[in-house]
Symmetry: C2
Subunit: 208 residues, 2 copies
């Protein structure tokens, strides 16, 4: 930037991505309730007041983290529908891609599930709506797979979706990036086990 | 109690169960960090000072809740081993009984998983040890089932145990006692899906 005019003091970079990354770091480390905008500003290396060019409050930061996470999830939904013709293969793709995204964005996912509760009003409602969409997407694929006789009919799609999402959401609490397995490997095991959990027969019931 | 000697002012009942129940109620409603011993005393209907006959601190209350929960879990482990001869049937019994216990003790389970982190020192270490025991028990049954060719060999017992526990632990976040299903029904679906997830061929891989 040798040609930059001398005397310019305003930093015109868009620091929003940096600010969001810093907020993720701080909210994950301290918890949202204990974290302050000053903590975020310190990491970015700006004065706290400069943050207000980008966001109006700590809650807005949390909301943006949650909204961005859900956008990612919506993209994966669309990719999954485009990737295959059968609901079971679409479900496989969705769960596999989502698990990898979770495993490579553990801090963000942890905030989404553990700190999202601090949002208020319309923002809280939006995150709840997102959760319902996520659930409805999985449930609808299970429903269609069931009507095509690809999975057991005794599986209730609503309960199955909750259990499948439960195992997925919980991954961010136990996965260690420095452990034995890569995100792809964990995602593969999770997806295989989940698909098998929907298929016939239930072992003990027929062979025990 | 018409024959009770007159003038007795000391209440000789053991109020510990009441105190623990009140603590569960308060910690669940307010969160451990925001709850106070005064809140607990108010529910029991005693002065805060009276609690010190039974416990030395708020942290001790939380520790007792966690230790009691784990005792329950240890009993279920023993019952499961006694209930069947094969590891897969023992696992079925363990998961089924544990899920029912979770579903009928949602507040307690919620505290165990979400507030246990506030424990310190030896108490925190104890809860962590309990978590490892729980995991090791499930893993060992999967290990044995695998060596007896009852489940797929491509299932890694450590990762499988984490995923199975993840779905289980997460149940307390979505189950509604006033919903469509009883604890027994949810436990049945969870157990069936879990056993199938270990034993069944993975559908897409063989038929898609």
């Amino acid at each position: 930037m040798a040609t930059r005019p001398k005397g310019r003091t305003i930093d015109r970079r868009n620091r929003e991505p940096e600010i969001l990354a810093a907020a993720i770091e701080v909210f994950h480390k301290k918890g949202y309730a204990a974290a302050s905008l000053r903590d975020v500003a310190d990491i970015v290396g700006v004065l706290k007041g400069s943050l207000y060019h980008y966001i109006s409050s700590k809650e807005e930061l949390l909301a943006r983290i949650c909204v961005e996470s859900h956008k990612q999830s919506s993209m994966i939904m669309q990719e999954s529908l485009d990737s295959a013709d059968t609901p079971l293969d679409q479900l496989r793709t969705f769960l596999h891609k989502t698990a990898i995204w979770y495993l490579t964005n553990i801090e963000r996912v942890h905030i989404y599930f553990n700190e999202g509760k601090w949002l208020t009003g319309d923002r809280l409602e939006e995150v709840r709506t997102q959760g319902r969409e996520f659930h409805a997407f999985i449930r609808s694929l299970i429903d269609r797979a069931r009507s095509e006789d690809r999975i057991r009919t005794d599986v209730d799609p609503r309960v199955a979706a909750q259990l499948i999402i439960g195992a997925l959401n919980n991954i961010s609490t136990w996965y260690r990036p420095d452990g034995l397995y890569s995100p792809e490997e964990i995602a593969g095991i999770y997806t295989d086990m989940t698909l098998a959990s929907l298929a016939n027969p239930v072992p003990g019931l027929v062979s025990a």
